[in-house]
Amino acid sequence: MTSEARPEAAVRNERLRLRLRSIRTFGQRFAARPDGVIGVVVLIFFSILAIAPSFFVGDLQTVTSASGLPLDPPSLGHLLGTDELGRDILNLTVHGTRISMVIGLLATVITIVLGALVGILAGYVGGRTDTLLMRVTDFFLVLPTFVLALILAPIILDLVGSGSEVFGIRVTLIVIVVVIGITSWASTARIIRSQTLSVKERAFVGRARVIGSGGGHIMWRHILPNVMNLIVANTVLVFGGAILTETTLSFIGLGDPFAPSWGEILNAAESAGAMGLGAWWYVVPPSVCIVLVVLAFTLVGSALDDVLNPRLRVRR
């Protein structure tokens, strides 16, 4: 028994050693990119805010629990001033972090899953499936997807009713998540497909097929792990884009006033005419947060892309 177990244990140890080594080299390479590290720090900061906003600024203030006078400039009591209803802007902005980040995260999950699925299927199966899927993808690439989201969101909202809740999450938010997801997967699908095409030609895929592995198994166990690098880097970039899209949709008036994201706060500021009244404190905090977070995602994304997909660097 021991004589059989030993080589197996050795294989396992070797695997573990290799994995640890690759994680370490990844860490070292990433640490060599100061922009990426700064991005990570910013994202950790905002993630902490998003996880426990009430811990830092108390519960989300509403019209009834507003703590100050309308449009009060920054003071010791309200570090970032108040909005037209007397709500503390710091309170709103910190709670907005959670809503913006959660919508961004969920929309990213839908985008990446859809994009990876379409990309791997099209690339691996090929033939007519590929042609058809890529037609659809190209259609979505050409289409001004934001404008499509603009008309899809109200239609779906009218269909399901905007007041209701599903699993305790407000339907408006779910609709925004779904709309962002189904309008932004196309470029991910394109990228994944081209990588799948090259992975498919590698020897180990042929070997797997020879020993009788099915298509699903090959895609799941052999193709997916080998396009994971691209998926990870792309996820980070898509996340930033999703937050931007959410912000813009909310600013246009498709957000949920009862769950104010940063875009929703800016929408409220716009309707209250905050800028015309000189209430810069209403507008600047959410704007700065949006820029910081999206910038951080862009920096981390491009650093990851460089580290994980080193082939891109060869020609430079």
Partner: protein, 324 residues
């Protein structure tokens, strides 16, 4: 060879536009209640007009194929239905009223951004690691992370509300001194300036990042090394070897980005209350004016498809390889 490329691209564009029209039809039928109820909800439509519309769209006939065919015919004839919000005016008229301000704003904004963005990007890529590259690339990244309306709000706050240099909203001063053409033009220009800057600044970041990486990529090519080996000056290499090739991907990417640009740019109009398609979109959204929303979707998507088609043709002219 060249004509085959042209035919393929033309057929592709026509097919895409056809798909967009079909999508518009499906969305229209997906709407809560039948299109019939939507029409009834419009209080500004007379009974005769209702009957005429019902006949035009064949709402008493089956969905497929009759209604689809009728819909396609009406759309092809430029009949996009009637607006709820604008007193039963036809959607085509509503759109026609609003298209010019948008065209002026974004046409000029695109031109400014293409010129300055590409120039900045090319220079930063050429002098990689220099001061201009460092500052320019940093600024571009920040601008790239800013939604257009945030740029607009900041410019509005500083230059219109704070310094009173420019008017805060609209396209012309209402009841202003507009006796002569010159004063009218001046008034228009002062209203246009800030939104125009917003659009241009928002785009410059994107275009410069794009052009920079394209130039850096091209400067690594073998023919650039050859040119350097021949002893050509660095400026000469950039002008006659690197730039023409670096512009190729830039043309495509600008066209592909157009869809996103239009979406983000809608919000700029909202910030400055510019009476174009962007503010119309928001008004239509608030009133749930579906016919107008669909008209906007159709108009914008078809424009983007046509712009992509134009980019393909330009690309084909610039790069003979793709025509094969």
């Amino acid at each position: 060879m060249g004509s085959r490329y042209l035919v393929r691209k033309t057929l592709g564009a026509i097919f895409t536009i056809f798909l967009i029209v079909i999508l518009n039809f499906v969305l229209f039928r997906m709407m809560p209640g039948s299109p019939d109820r939507i029409l009834l909800r419009n209080p500004n439509l007379s009974a005769e007009a209702m009957a005429a519309v019902r006949a035009r769209w064949g709402l008493d006939k089956p969905l497929l194929p009759d209604q689809l065919v009728d819909y396609l015919e009406a759309t092809a004839a430029g009949d996009l239905g009637f607006s709820f919000k604008f007193h039963g005016e036809s959607v085509t008229d509503v759109l026609a009223d609003r298209i010019w301000p948008t065209l002026i704003l974004f046409g000029l904004g695109e031109i400014l951004a293409v010129i300055f963005g590409l120039a900045l990007g090319a220079y930063s890529g050429w002098k990689r690691g220099g001061a201009v590259d460092y500052i320019g690339n940093g600024l571009s990244l920040i601008l790239y992370s800013m939604p257009y309306f945030v740029i607009g709000i900041l410019l509005l706050g500083i230059f219109a509300v704070g310094l009173h240099w420019f008017p805060t909203s609209g396209m012309l001063t209402i009841g202003g001194n507009n006796d002569t053409f010159a004063s009218q033009l001046l008034d228009f220009a002062s209203h246009l300036f800030l939104p125009l800057m917003t659009v241009a600044i928002g785009l410059i970041g994107q275009y410069s990042i794009l052009m920079r990486s394209s130039v850096i990529e091209t400067l690594g090519e073998d023919y650039v090394t050859t040119a350097r080996g021949k002893g050509l000056s660095s400026g000469k290499i950039l002008r006659s070897h690197a730039l023409p090739n670096a512009l190729l991907p830039a043309v495509t990417l600008i066209a592909i980005n157009l869809g996103y640009v239009i979406g983000g740019a809608i919000t700029v109009e909202v910030v400055f209350n510019w009476p174009g398609l962007g503010t119309l979109t928001v008004q239509a959204l608030e009133a749930r004016d579906y016919p107008v929303l669909q008209g906007i979707f159709l108009l914008l998507s078809v424009s983007v498809v046509l712009a992509n088609f134009a980019a393909d043709l330009i690309y084909g002219r610039l790069d003979p390889r793709v025509r094969a």
